[in-house]
Amino acid sequence: MSTRSYIAFEQALCTACGACSVACMDENDINPSSPSEMYRKISIIEKGHGKDAKFSYLSVSCNHCENAPCISVCPQGCIYKDEQTGFIVYDNKKCIGCRSCYRVCQIDAPVFSSDGKMEKCNGCNHRVINGLEPACVRVCPFDALSLERLN
């Protein structure tokens, strides 16, 4: 039986406040130079006008897909599924920055920092292995994010 873990998102509870994005950067010690480099991104999508205007508040990072296309497409074998948690994790030492993973990802989860190497959400695999929630789940003021573990 395969294992899968992912960070579930309940949109009705999200305000796009960005606490998740900030906690993610604090946890991963990253200091991106632009929003596109954040592992977890927030956005607001507006539809309609006046009193019919509807706002969708969103928080998006790697979906940790069941059959993650980024794994097979990576020529260097950087991306793999963690055996214990099922999170889609990576070791980017061999990354050549070809962006193949980025091209097959529908939600732009892989990001590329100044050294050109791929980085992304690893589900806070290190925290989950140690019995802790991912940083974004831990911080979310409205519990819009939660850790799902399937066996």
Binding site: A16, P35, F55, Y57, H126
Partner: protein
């Protein structure tokens, strides 16, 4: 720029079961980036004396493990690259940024010399003691000012929070707090709890889960509108008072007002009723832009759901008619008997136990300040102009300081002791800076290298909540005494240590203030019933307050209320006593907009409605939060943008008769047509530099941050 630790430090640490083996210590502290309201509990992961990670403290009274984006960015805030780490003396001309490091002894001695020189030449009142952010040390600064002999203790709350306090006091004799846990209907009027105070919003979500309803009244289309509202009213900016009176008329005409309650407890109902009857639904629709039927529905929903409550935001008051608009809203609570009853609004018996937090008992904070109050002092800044402020608040009206400095009327101000002061919090912020620049002497305490620091003679570095021990009360029940999570950065001290040191150098013979924070707090909190102070000091988490009293709902109404008539006053006898034609005892409605010609200045701007990623200027230079909204930008409705040919992120110029600024356009349905919204405090696009400092609410002296005329154009079209 930011000295980030090895990114795998925590990762490696957590791979070992006992993380303390890796030298990481978890310190329980609090976040002090925003107001004294939440002051959320924080677990700081500290390794080798540096914070490496922050998380909310689980089980903490306000936040229960959660943090907002601002609090989550606390590590970058603490280690901001422009933190001041040594006392500095200015050596070049004002504003030149030419400073040299000095010792604390020199800083204290020179500050004492500068303040005393002004005292000798002009009198103690000519030195102003100005409180900016944060607010944790307020009573201590108040005492320092009074011990020095100056009545001029001034805070930013004279443009932010006090107007709502004054409105409540004028009606009910006390401030009030919503009894959210027991209500069935909550009206969020001009506030957006998910963004300005998430612990409150969590309680609102719980209210909805138990079947309660929420009405949101806001000119903006906010998270509250989208996520919480069962009914939404979006009045034009500043027309809240008109809307409230139209609702009052619906309530009275439907016989939903509480006649027995009014007869027993309310003063001035007949005059109020007569006035409110002038606000029919058709006119209200025209003025407020809210469909008449929605006004009617909201009024009936509020009055027919019992208990229900209205909680107005502070922004309501930051307009020329702001105080009266706020009073008009709260009058709806009075006429429906929704006061001092479960699920309505309750009187705050002990609102200021300690530094703006409620501990459920009467402390000696007032005595701490009052015992050194200067005798026969000159009139406090701004209070001649604003008698209601004089009679209700124990401080000066700081929004008028610049004008007094520049005019030297009624007397000159020649020195300022600034604690975290930010000129961009004041109307016509350039004028404020110019006024301070003209003083004989300025000393500042600050975390960061601000524009006020640049014009100061002496700059003294202070530290964040992570670097100090601090006491705070919660929910009228608990009290917490933190320990420093890390050592103060560089040579920085706590603000109160600076005041104590300065009190010594000034030779004020104020032994209590000289003895420091712990001794002063111990005195102020001596009625708390805490027996073992040392155990409290080292408690490492909130403890119950022994002498906290549970308020008996209805007990305040049983006695005489703290108003001139002893009743709830819809007609304020205090205001009537001033006999000033510009101050009406009734909460009348007038258009708040300034006199700038509408033909040219055809938009109305509201500056400062909360964004999730910042609070005043404090996080604009923190990259983690800045990434969430990288550019200073103005919200404009798609219809207006389309008409003016403005595209997303186009650079636009916003002008008033006072100033012009340029920034990016953000096209969004958040703003209604004809209205603009932007956040304040950006150095590259300072919203408050656009505001006329003379446009003040005549009751409170509050500036019109949230309603002023302006025009907008694409930069390339100019």
């Amino acid at each position: 720029m930011l000295n980030l630790i090895n990114r795998f430090t925590i990762l490696q640490a957590l791979e070992v079961a006992d993380i303390t083996d890796n030298g990481i210590i978890i310190k329980h502290t609090m976040c002090d980036i925003c107001t004294p309201g939440p002051h959320c509990g924080v677990d700081a992961y500290v390794k080798d004396g540096r914070i490496i990670k922050l998380e909310g403290t689980k089980g903490f009274p306000s936040n229960d493990g959660k943090l907002c984006a601002r609090g989550a960015a606390g590590r970058q805030y603490v280690y901001r690259s422009d933190r001041i780490t040594r006392p500095m003396r200015r050596v070049g001309p004002r504003g030149s940024s030419e400073f040299e490091p000095i010792s604390w002894e020199e800083a204290f001695a020179e500050t004492a010399k500068g303040l005393n020189a002004v005292k000798e030449q002009y009198g103690a009142a000519s030195a102003a003691f100005i409180c900016g952010y944060t607010k944790w040390f307020r009573p201590f600064l108040h005492r320092l000012a009074y011990s020095f002999g100056s009545p001029n203790y001034l805070t930013e709350s004279s443009g932010c929070y006090w107007s709502g306090v004054m409105a409540n006091r004028s009606i009910f004799g006390v401030t009030t707090a919503p009894d959210l846990m027991n209500t069935k209907l909550y009206v969020a009027w001009g506030s957006n709890p998910p963004i300005h105070a998430f612990p409150l919003a969590r309680n609102l979500i719980a209210l909805k889960k138990r079947g309660g309803k929420i009405i949101v009244i806001d000119s903006r289309n906010t998270q509250s509108v989208q996520m919480l509202a069962d009914l939404v009213l979006r009045p034009r900016l500043g027309t809240d008072g008109y809307l409230a009176h139209a609702m009052a008329r619906v309530i009275i005409e439907s016989g939903l007002h509480d006649e027995a309650f009014i007869k027993k407890y309310v003063h001035g109902f007949e005059q109020y009723k007569q006035y409110a009857m002038g606000f029919d639904l058709a006119s209200a629709e025209k003025v407020t832009g809210v469909p008449a039927e929605d006004i009617r529905t909201a009024a009936l929903m509020f009055a027919e759901t019992d208990p229900s409550l209205i909680s107005p935001g502070t922004g309501i008051t930051q307009r020329k008619n702001g105080f009266n608009n706020y009073r008009a809203i709260m009058s709806l609570m009075a006429i429906t008997g929704r006061f001092d009853r479960m699920g309505t609004i309750l009187p705050n018996a002990y609102e200021t136990t300690f530094c703006g937090s409620n501990g459920g008992f009467k402390s000696f904070e007032e005595e701490f300040i009052d015992s050194v109050r200067p005798k026969n002092a000159r009139q406090t800044v701004g209070l001649e102009q604003f008698p209601l402020f004089r009679d209700m608040m124990d401080e000066g009206q700081g929004m008028t300081l610049a004008s007094q400095i520049l005019s030297e009327k009624p007397y000159p101000i020649k020195a300022a002791f600034c604690t975290g002061v930010n000129n961009r919090m004041y109307p016509d912020s350039k004028q404020y800076l110019r006024a301070l620049e003209s003083l004989d002497f300025i000393a500042s305490t600050e975390l960061f290298w601000t524009d006020i620091c640049k014009i100061s003679d002496i700059v003294m570095p202070v530290c964040t909540s992570y670097e100090r021990a601090e006491i705070k009360c919660y929910a009228g029940k608990f009290i917490n005494y933190t320990s420093p999570a890390i050592e103060p950065l560089g040579e920085s001290k706590t603000d109160v240590e600076v005041f104590s040191g300065l009190a010594k150098s000034l030779e004020l013979s104020d032994k209590l203030l000289e003895s420091g924070y712990d001794a002063c707090a111990r005195y102020i909190l001596s009625p708390s019933g805490i027996k073992d102070w040392e155990a409290f000091r080292t408690s490492d988490g909130p403890i119950p307050i022994p002498n906290a009293q549970k308020y008996i709902v209805g007990s305040y109404l049983e006695g005489a209320l703290k108003t001139p008539t002893g009743k709830i006053e819809l007609f304020s006898q205090l205001i009537a006593s001033y006999k000033r034609p510009d101050l009406n005892p009734l909460p009348i409605y007038i258009d708040s907009c300034d006199d700038a010609p509408q033909s040219e200045f055809d938009f109305v701007m509201c500056a400062g409605a909360r964004l999730p990623n910042t609070i005043h200027s404090r996080l604009h230079e923190v990259s983690w939060t800045r990434l969430l909204r990288p550019k200073a930008s103005v919200d404009i409705n798609p219809i207006d943008a389309d008409r003016l040919g403005i595209s997303q992120e186009d650079e636009v110029v916003i002008s008033t008769p006072v100033n012009s600024i340029s920034l990016a356009a953000n096209i969004t349905e958040t703003a209604s047509p004809g209205e603009l919204h932007m956040y304040h405090g950006y150095k590259e696009a300072d919203a408050n530099s656009l505001i006329d400092s003379e446009q003040l609410d005549p009751y409170t002296g509050f500036p019109s941050y949230k309603q002023f005329r302006c025009k907008i154009a694409k930069k390339e079209d100019l």
